[in-house]
């Protein structure tokens, strides 16, 4: 499973734990699963966890940007957690750090 979704109704938060390689081939399925969870829960915070993602190219940027737009339409926010050095580098190039919060601390649960 490339995406594991955890819904927290009280906090109005959806967390998507992504794993494996995010490229054009794999992004569509991930996108669809995350969007289904957003549509069902209408959360105010979407957390994308990249802890288990080993590779990402600009298709991953498209994935984050698309979810950012969707959450913005709901007046919600996106938080990217646990990206590796490589993934941070790709995200910085796209200026994603300016759109979504990016952080490391996942172990305490959901933030910020």
């Amino acid at each position: 499973m490339p995406v594991r979704i955890v819904e927290n109704k009280e906090n109005k938060t959806v967390t998507a734990f992504l794993s494996g390689e995010i490229d054009h081939h794999g992004a569509k399925k991930m996108r669809e699963e995350i969007d289904r969870a957003i549509d069902e829960n209408l959360p105010s915070l979407l957390v994308l966890d990249f802890g288990e993602v080993s590779f990402m190219d600009s298709s991953g940027i498209g994935l984050v940007m698309g979810r950012y737009k969707k959450m913005r339409d709901l007046d919600g926010r996106v938080f990217v957690q646990n990206p590796s050095m490589h993934i941070k580098k790709v995200m910085r190039l796209a200026g994603l750090d300016k759109l979504a919060g990016i952080g490391d601390s996942s172990r305490k649960g959901v933030q910020p």
Partner: protein, 144 residues
Amino acid sequence: MKVLNEMKITFPSKSVNEGYARLAVAAFASQLDPPVDELADVKTAVSEAVTNCIVHAYPDKVGKIEICARIFENGEFYVKVKDYGCGIEDVKKAMEPLFTTCKNGERAGLGFAVMESFMDKLSVRSKVGRGTCVVMRKKFSQRG
């Protein structure tokens, strides 16, 4: 400059081959014993070039993609990704960051920007109706 080693692969433009292509090139490049992060740069750049062939060059059909990688005597790594698809009308414009012809909003228009910033050199030649050829070069830093 003398070529010390060379590899060539040809495969159909099916998206399942994106992973194969970047891994094959990275495996070849590992002969130069590059630092892990620089090998990830090569993987990412190749993934961008190959994805562009699949998404843009052959939008409604399956076509041929060719990759040639070389190792030069001076330690430079070279990789060429070539398609025989629709071609690019205005290469300069296509290479501008955030430029995309994709309509569904799921592409960032950053593929060329990634190739440019993750590799040392990038050159793109294209002819409408004939295809596109992307050449990238990188000199890995010495580990040590």
